[in-house]
């Protein structure tokens, strides 16, 4: 089984966009996950609802809203283009933004649950021993919540790989630039005689998904401390 240049491009682009998206999301997921797990503040429910919105909105709507905001004629997009010459829509950056928006609620949900599961009393104990909040977070909360956080990371990564609607709407379907695996499959399905390409990409998708789920299960089993 050999892959064409375009297929390899789609696979690499998918993995790259998903990876970068997760790296960008991680500090936010940890910070905000801790905040919603441990603190009470005004507007908490509203902010959480807004973050979770892409989970219930049709992905195409998410993509369309992104276009309205960050498209060349969008209120933020036009500013970025005129002031800095940055064009976000229909770029590799747009793939990352679209998939991040869709997978972040999943990642955040896992991080939040994992932190809630960590006994807050252990953090109190760390503080009474004279340690600062950041030190306590990275030596107690983070390691104890790590299995859940990694699970969230993996499942959000998988969600990124499968992202279609928001990406095609906001980033387009440009070969080598924004065409991820799902978009390449869609493209191949529309092309007569490209059944083999479709099957190969479907197989890659299934293999990646199975690997990711197995890794998630393995980590859950191996890393659970409490």
């Amino acid at each position: 089984m050999t892959f064409s240049q375009a297929e390899i491009q789609a696979i690499v682009l998918s993995l790259k966009a998903s990876g970068i998206s997760l790296l960008i999301q991680t500090p936010f997921a940890l910070w905000f996950g801790y905040l919603v797990a441990r603190k009470q503040f005004k507007g908490k429910i509203l902010i959480e609802s807004l973050i979770n919105l892409p989970q219930v909105l049709p992905p195409v709507v998410t993509g369309f809203l992104l276009l309205l905001i960050l498209g060349r004629d969008g209120f933020l997009g036009s500013f970025l283009f005129q002031a800095l010459g940055i064009r976000i829509a229909f770029s590799f950056g747009a793939v990352i933004i679209a998939s991040s928006l869709v997978s972040f609620p999943i990642y955040l949900g896992f991080v939040k649950s994992a932190i809630i599961m960590v006994d807050a009393g252990l953090e109190d104990a760390g503080r009474t021993l004279g340690r600062g909040n950041l030190y306590v977070f990275f030596t107690i909360t983070f390691p104890l919540a790590l299995p859940g956080i990694l699970n969230g990371f993996i499942l959000a990564f998988a969600r990124n790989l499968g992202e279609f609607g928001a990406t095609i709407t906001f980033a387009g379907n440009i070969s080598g630039l924004t065409r991820t695996i799902p978009l390449a499959i869609y493209n191949a399905m529309q092309t007569p005689g490209a059944e083999l390409i479709t099957m190969r990409l479907v197989l890659v998708s299934v293999l990646i998904s199975i690997s990711v789920m197995m890794l998630s299960g393995f980590l859950k089993k191996k890393m659970t401390i409490i």
């Binding site: 006994d119 252990l122 104990a125 009474t128 004279g130 104890l144």
Partner: protein, 371 residues
Amino acid sequence: MLNINIKISQGDFTGNYEFSAKPGVMGIFGASGHGKTSLLNAIVGLLNPECGKIEINGKQIFNSNKKINLSIQKRKVAYVFQDYKLFPHFSVLKNLQYGISKKADKNKAHEIAKLLGIDHLLNKSPQSCSGGEKQRIALGRTLLTQPELLLMDEPFASVDSNLREELMQYVKMVAAEYQIPILIVSHDFNDMLKLMDTVMYIENGHITYCGDIFQVLSQNDFLSNEKLFQQYQNILNLEVVGPREMADRILYETINEPTGMRFLIESFVSLKVKDEVRVVLSPDDIVMATRPVYEISTSNQISGTLLRVIESPYMVKCVVDIGFPVLVSITTNAFDRLGFGIGDKVWLQFKTTKINVAANYSSKKSKLRIA
């Protein structure tokens, strides 16, 4: 020295606390939900009082008027939690070292582990340790931060009686070596008699009694506090003067320093001259007479003055001053028959075998403070 005057409001609960604590052990009692743990949480900084001030050794850690509210980390208050809160992902050694920031000081963890008898556990996970071991790890971990105040929430609740005795000795040793106030929330007044120097009772967020454990019998507030008074047993701090060998056992001649009174006691553990022991003597185990009785087997006979009488349906509790107040419990029938009256001179007899050595504070005396 700890000085507190705070008001705590938490939902429906309101608590007002005003007291001082000197170096030594203070036992805090009261029913569940009456604000004992809230008080500890406010001192350590886990809960913000509504108003008031908290001062440790002259340094204000909380003052609502001056807007002072030091962070938990800066208060130098150690807290041994009820369920220990040991970090499950660290070894015992790492748990002990957690509060030590200077690398050069990390070795101190080995020293304190040795002193607390947990040096064989250093590489183990705290989850594999017994309740008593966990308690000592939690205690050692806090001591390594060189605290100015130690708070313990029900530290003896989940350990068996043998371990409890041992842990109490460690706590007493800490009090002696560190010279800091130690506040212990407990539900077992009787048990804490062996350990505490001051007793506090909290009811519905208010301190209804607070005083020196050796003075409680002269306090009306204590005598009218049924929950504490009913559990009271006499306690004495004695210093061993020398052994007195008998045919089948060894008795110990002891002296009560403040009064100079001598007592003959029996101990199941070997004592040395100069050892300081705390003994517990039940009010039921003291015999009270109207005159000295010489044709009797008891070795300890002391005269005193009957100060107070607290009557209940079948028993009469008498407070007798023998240089310090002692509680004696006799039947109403005996009290009436012998015609005791307040101000009368009475003679008390204690059997040596009934004087229980509760704690030997010298047995573990060592250089616990790691400089």
